[in-house]
């Protein structure tokens, strides 16, 4: 590779960087002000490219392309405002992260809406009039549109900077970013501000999408593909830092361009195809940056929230009556296989629900009482699954030994990743866990010899007595019971109090002699190890395991289960996992547009019970007892 070639690829990278930056900037602004983890951001991007293509075709002519871009931005910005007013505004009072659940549901609905409106086929938009060609540079041809894109990024950056630094609107945004309560106390109309910010963010995402219309077809998978990138850029740059986001976008795009440019290189006699590294390049960059600079490249430590919400009420043991009810439920569940003759599908579905229960309960342990929002819990699910599958198929281990191997693999993984993760907090921690999960995923995806590559491992069937549907179900039930009871026991032991103290007030916890870092680390490792059991059971239930078990989608499913059930209750993850699995299983059969239906149902739950199902149940219970007392 010549120097010319590398230089030229660096120029290519700048065009890619602009594309990344535009999506990330909107996300960064929304998060900075409203603290909403907006999972629908990729959907706004996707709507942008679809709308721009349609509008450009509608207007026609040389003017049509640009009119299409502007039209798409305006429409999506209006949709963003509508989303904020109609949906998010109703749930700002809910515990942190519930807005995530709402935007997740919204993303599901938007995806199906786009399918309904534009059909399943990819749509390749028009080229930009006047910018179709290429110019000669360094003996190669650089598309003029790439030059245009490479300039758009910095232009938007400067525009946003001026907006934020010089205008009154910008000052208000910065004030709200720094200290929401103080801004409100000084008479700033928060509602209007939030709506405007959300519209601005959505519009920027749409701009990013619309400008891609000349380079790639609109397709239904764009929303998720872009979302991950956008989060990486925002976090690498440092939350709330727009210039940081641009630098991060350049960094990621250039690393990728370099990997592609170098192609196959030989290192110490080995042929390494660096282009394969583009699969995880952005997540590797993010992991390294976060380990070296815990607040991203340009981020400052987040100002501590003046009033940390209303604070979570302390956990209470269940009490005698609760125990009796639980015992009854467990006994009933243990009898389920007797009904297999009449309901042969029941044990099958129940195994999936129990696996989800273990997954969600272990995640809840670190998310709720631990206060560490892991966005990459699937890593430990996957390590457990692959550990068990590898032990069973390659080493010939009996089923129980293989399950143990899975737990050990997941526990070791959590021990290593947890050591890095607990050094961070808030969204940075969440994103580092996500990066680790993506790295584990990419290893499973690529390491053909051990993990079976993208296809995974097959023939992972359990031996007797677990090889029947009922046998496996009872094993899963036993496993889920052990995990739930163990985690509950730990939470009411001194370690659990120390964990909750570390979450509620790290300073005071340190002052009374709790090594908060170590407590959180061990808590993280314990949750990871137990999650490994879920993975192992999953592999045996399916007879196979593939990299999807570690995908972002599974991590998000876990978050959704915990939030759906209620993060402030120990029963929450159990109810949430059961409900989500059951819901998904039944809506998938109901309609072709099952994603939208699932999204609508989740949205309904979020709006009716902003604290999750258990939160709602607790409120109803409180209401009922108060009535009775009167």
């Amino acid at each position: 590779m010549s120097l010319d070639g590398l230089l030229f690829q660096a120029l290519n990278g700048l065009a890619g960087a602009s594309a990344l930056f535009l999506v990330a900037a909107g996300l960064s602004i929304i998060f900075g002000v409203s603290r909403i983890v907006n999972l629908a951001h990729g959907s706004f991007y996707m709507l942008g490219i679809y709308l721009a293509g349609t509008l450009a075709g509608g207007f026609g002519g040389a003017f049509g392309f640009w009119a299409g871009v502007i039209g798409a931005v305006l429409v999506v910005a209006a949709l963003g405002a509508l989303t904020e007013i109609a949906l998010l505004r109703r749930i700002y009072a809910a515990p942190e992260l519930y807005q995530l659940l709402a935007t997740f549901a919204l993303a599901l609905i938007v995806n199906d809406a786009v399918l309904y409106l534009w059909g399943p086929e990819d749509i390749l938009g028009p080229r930009a009039p006047g910018l179709e060609g290429a110019i000669d540079l360094l003996g190669r041809r650089l598309p003029t549109y790439d030059i245009f894109l490479a300039l758009v990024g910095p232009a938007v950056l400067i525009g946003l900077h001026l907006l934020l630094a010089r205008s009154r609107f910008g000052r208000l945004i910065r004030a709200a970013t720094e200290d929401r309560e103080m801004a409100a106390a000084l008479g700033v109309n928060e509602k209007v501000l939030f709506t405007a910010v959300f519209a601005l963010g959505a519009g920027l995402a749409a701009l990013g999408g619309a400008l891609q219309m000349a380079r790639e077809p609109a397709s239904l998978s764009l929303d998720l593909a872009v979302l991950g990138d956008a989060f990486v850029i925002v976090v690498v740059g440092g939350l709330g830092s727009i210039p940081g986001a641009y630098v991060a976008a350049v960094l990621v795009a250039e690393v990728k361009a370099l990997c592609i440019a170098l192609g196959t290189v030989s290192v110490g006699g080995f042929e390494v195809n660096l282009s394969k590294l583009t699969l995880v390049a952005e997540f590797l960059v993010m992991a390294i940056v976060l380990i070296v600079r815990p607040n991203g490249l340009f981020g400052r430590p987040q100002p501590p929230a003046r009033v940390a919400g209303r604070g979570e009420p302390p956990l209470r043991p269940m009490g005698r009556n609760g125990g009796i009810v639980a015992l009854g439920v467990v006994a009933a569940l243990a009898l389920l296989p007797l009904a297999e003759g009449a309901f042969p599908y029941a044990p099958v579905l129940a195994v999936d629900m129990l696996v989800a229960v273990i997954f969600a309960t272990s995640l809840h342990f670190i998310m709720g009482p631990g206060g560490m929002h892991s966005f990459g819990h699937a890593a430990y699910f996957g390590l457990g699954a692959y550990g068990a599958a590898y032990a069973a198929t390659q080493l010939g281990a009996p089923t129980f030994a293989a399950l143990a191997a899975g737990i050990v693999a997941a526990g070791l993984g959590a021990l290593v990743f947890g050591w890095f993760a607990v050094r961070l907090s808030g969204v940075y921690l969440a994103m580092l866990t996500l990066a680790f999960a993506q790295i584990v995923w990419s290893i499973a995806y690529q390491w053909e010899a051990v993990t079976g590559g993208s296809n995974g491992l097959f023939g992972v069937w359990p031996d007797a007595p677990l090889d029947t549907r009922a046998g496996l179900y009872l094993a899963a039930l036993g496993g889920a019971l052990v995990v739930v009871l163990l985690l509950r026991r730990v939470l009411f032991a001194p370690f659990g109090y120390a964990l909750r103290a570390s979450r509620d007030s790290p300073l005071r916890a340190e002052a009374v002699g709790i090594a908060t870092g170590r407590v959180q680390w061990l808590g993280f490792a314990l949750a990871g190890a137990l999650c490994g059991l879920a993975g192992g059971l999953f592999a045996f239930a399916k007879g196979s395991i593939s990299p999807e078990a570690i995908s972002v989608g599974r991590s998000i499913d876990g978050l959704v289960m915990v939030l759906l059930g209620g993060v402030e209750s120990l029963l929450g993850p159990i109810v949430g996992a059961g409900a989500f699995t059951l819901l998904q299983d039944s809506v998938m059969r109901e309609t072709d547009y099952w994603r939208a239906l699932l999204g609508a149902l989740i949205l309904a739950i979020v709006l009716i019970f902003p604290g999750g199902l258990m939160g709602g149940a607790a409120r109803l219970w409180a209401l009922a007892t108060r009535r009775a007392a009167r």
Binding site: I260, K542, M588
Partner: protein
């Protein structure tokens, strides 16, 4: 039901009970043959929407003609969630609750392999319609799994004569970085090296599926100065690649052989920008003059007022294959059906083909041609049908490739 249900358990399971009754009732009334079909309808709508239409057309035709062995066909389709975990649950649901006689479908290779493993374990007949991976009939092949579509190996082998005839020395390879892309490229390298030992592979770009960085990748290939390119990219990645290559003039004068790019699913979105001169495998529905295809084309257009995609052919032929199998087996007994499928002759829109007894692979072929542009859309020029049997390894060679199965 043997044991009386306690009231408690009854309440627990009442909703499921009602559902089960309603289904049992239906099953007894008509006693049709039940085909359980699962596929990634949500994840791959562009291919599977026409596929479903193809299936429904075939079911209607067969039932209108009196069914198979006097029994009607009943098709029960399910979304497999786009991942193997959900797919196995759905397969279990079809088998246990819906009591289907056979399983069919799947698109993505890892899901196909997972369901094949399940079929082997539970001894259920499974016709894998779409998945291309060689493993499903060879290294991971099993007694209960058959596959309809021409495999990755076959698709590559169909392009070989043209690739060899082009007499190019410096080849660049670009492929999506997962098993399909990897195995296509491995097969291509092996076959080309065998035919043309002095060939040199000057660049190899493995790109993340669905997330191609088109600019840098096209430039890296151009910088390697190849005189031929083998492409495995498809769908959105293909469109990005083609547009970027045209803008940069990166592939001017370069011979390109490309897998699947002539399938309407992937070719039509390119419209007038279809890359002229590429040698591709695909489905030129507008240029097939056989009576079998004409009948299919007319029936499809009459029913849906749209032209068929390759998915339509696959869906249609899947059902036709199963019907032929039921007829030959004289029923739906799984073991008899497996035996019936060995060497089963089927008449599809591409003409007659068979399911090989040696590796359970159908010999339905595909078309090879050069891309051109006509009336603002991409078309395959002078397409030639390549019979699947002509590119498959012999039964003896297959024995070595297929260790575990009979």
């Amino acid at each position: 039901m043997s044991a009386p249900l306690s009231r408690f358990r009854l309440r627990l399971v009442l909703p499921a009970l009602l559902l089960a009754f309603s289904i049992c009732g239906q099953a007894r009334a008509a006693d049709p043959i039940r085909i359980g079909e699962l596929n990634s309808y949500k994840a791959q709508p562009a291919f599977l929407d026409p596929y479903k239409k193809g299936m429904e057309l075939a079911v209607d035709e067969i039932n209108a003609a009196g069914g198979v062995n006097g029994r009607q066909l009943e098709l029960i389709t399910r979304d497999d969630g786009g991942n193997p975990g959900d797919a196995i649950r759905v397969a279990e649901e079809l088998v246990t609750r819906e009591k289907v006689d056979v399983l069919a479908g799947t698109f993505l290779s890892h899901i196909g392999l997972a369901v094949a493993g399940y079929a082997d374990k539970r001894k259920v007949f499974f016709l894998a319609a779409e998945p291309l991976t060689d493993k499903i009939t060879w290294s991971d092949g099993n007694r209960y799994t058959f596959r309809l579509r021409a495999s990755t190996y076959m698709q590559v082998a169909m392009l070989m004569p043209e690739a060899v005839a082009a007499q190019k020395k410096r080849w660049a390879l670009v492929y999506p970085n997962y098993e399909y892309g990897q195995s296509a490229v491995d097969t291509f390298k092996k076959l080309l090296k065998a035919a043309q030992p002095d060939v040199e592979f000057v660049a190899e770009q493995a790109t993340p599926l669905g997330k191609l960085d088109a600019g840098p990748v096209v430039q890296a290939i151009a910088d390697a100065k190849p005189d031929a390119v083998f492409n495995v990219l498809f769908a959105a990645d293909l469109a990005k690649f083609v547009r970027e290559a045209q803008t940069r003039g990166a592939l001017e004068g370069v011979f390109v052989a490309s897998l699947l790019s002539g399938e309407p699913e992937y070719l039509d979105p390119l419209k007038g920008e279809a890359p002229v001169g590429w040698v591709v495998t695909g489905y030129p529905w507008y240029a097939i003059d056989t009576p079998e295809h004409k009948a299919f084309l007319d029936a499809y257009r009459a029913k849906y007022n749209d032209y068929p995609r390759l998915g339509s052919v696959v869906g249609y032929t899947t059902i036709k294959s199963l019907a032929a199998g039921f007829a030959k087996a004289g029923g739906t007994d799984t073991e008899k059906l497996v035996e019936a499928f060995k060497g089963l002759e089927v008449a599809g829109p591409f003409g007659p083909f068979q399911y090989r007894a040696s590796d359970h692979q159908a010999t339905m072929g595909a078309f090879v041609g050069r891309l051109g542009v006509k009336d603002g859309g991409g078309v395959m020029l002078d397409p030639k049908y390549v019979d699947g049997l002509s590119v498959l390894p012999s039964d003896a060679e297959v024995k070595a490739l297929r260790p575990a199965a009979d």
